[in-house]
Symmetry: C2
Subunit: 178 residues, 2 copies
């Protein structure tokens, strides 16, 4: 059975949406994802606000209740019948996210066993056939086939197999033997 690793932030969970929401609320701004084509929220944030931008992520409740990326549940449920699904998330840069990420996955993806969660940093460590991830640097380090999941910051990245949404993920793997 082929193995697919799936990133969490921006692929399964709308982390950016929550980050923008807290940013706008705190600084009375009106940033939208459309302001972030080809860049991260960090890059449009004035220097004097960057410490606070980081503090949002460190808050105990930040990762507890993120919105789902539409289609992630249904498509992963279908794929898990034919593929070995692992969740591979960069959790080590924000240690307060470890517990919340575990609980979020259990709540929203009960069909994926915790033994298949991988909380890591550098994704070179993953032995899998596929990795679905929004970060080009993760795909470049991965030795299998990468799929770049579209997010505002990566819209200008080229040279990757790209999926814009979970429907396209389903279509891609429809043609792949499990």
């Amino acid at each position: 059975m082929q193995r697919i690793c799936v990133d969490m932030d921006e692929v399964m969970a709308d982390t950016l949406g929550e980050h923008i929401r807290r940013y706008n609320r705190t600084f009375d701004e009106d940033v939208t994802p459309y302001d972030l084509v080809g860049k991260g929220l960090w890059e449009i944030t004035p220097l004097e606000r960057r410490q606070q931008l980081r503090a949002f992520l460190d808050a105990e409740d930040f990762f507890e209740d993120l919105a789902l990326i539409p289609g992630a549940q249904d498509v992963l449920k279908d794929l898990s019948a034919r593929f070995d699904i692992f969740i591979a998330t960069q959790a080590m840069a924000v240690p307060n996210s470890l517990g919340p990420k575990y609980r979020w996955l259990q709540r929203h993806f009960p069909f994926i066993p915790p033994a298949n969660y991988v909380f890591c940093g550098d994704k070179r460590i993953l032995r899998a056939d596929y990795l679905i991830d929004d970060l080009p640097k993760n795909l470049l380090r991965f030795e299998g086939q990468g799929l770049l999941y579209t997010a505002p910051h990566n819209l200008t990245a080229t040279g990757f197999v790209r999926v814009d949404n979970w429907l396209q993920v389903a279509q891609y793997f429809a043609g792949v033997p499990g």
Copy 2:
């Protein structure tokens, strides 16, 4: 640079020692590691105490302050100059261990960056050249070269390259190109 994954419990941290200590204190027993040749603490624990045995692991403070396995720090520090060292620990069966394991590693192994921590379940997911682990089942699933780190429960296991202590780990890798 070749990559070595290192398990935490019984390899870097004396998890069994703490488990036995809490067991003996709670039940006024006198179990020692010598009572556990070829078996886990679970197997010698009467059924009516097993829920408590599990509860010890779930306690918030269990993984916070485990004793070090002698030699782990010095040998890993030396090896990290020649090898790519990752820590790969089964943390998903005890989600309360996630934060404490992170903090323990930072405190005792500051020379290993958090990006090289892997909190996982099934160790099939690891892409590395070597895995040092006390659990035969983890080594059987791993695709690289496994080294069985001796612990009471695995003393009867055969068919593995075995290391009894960190001195033997250092000796093994002295003959391996980095």
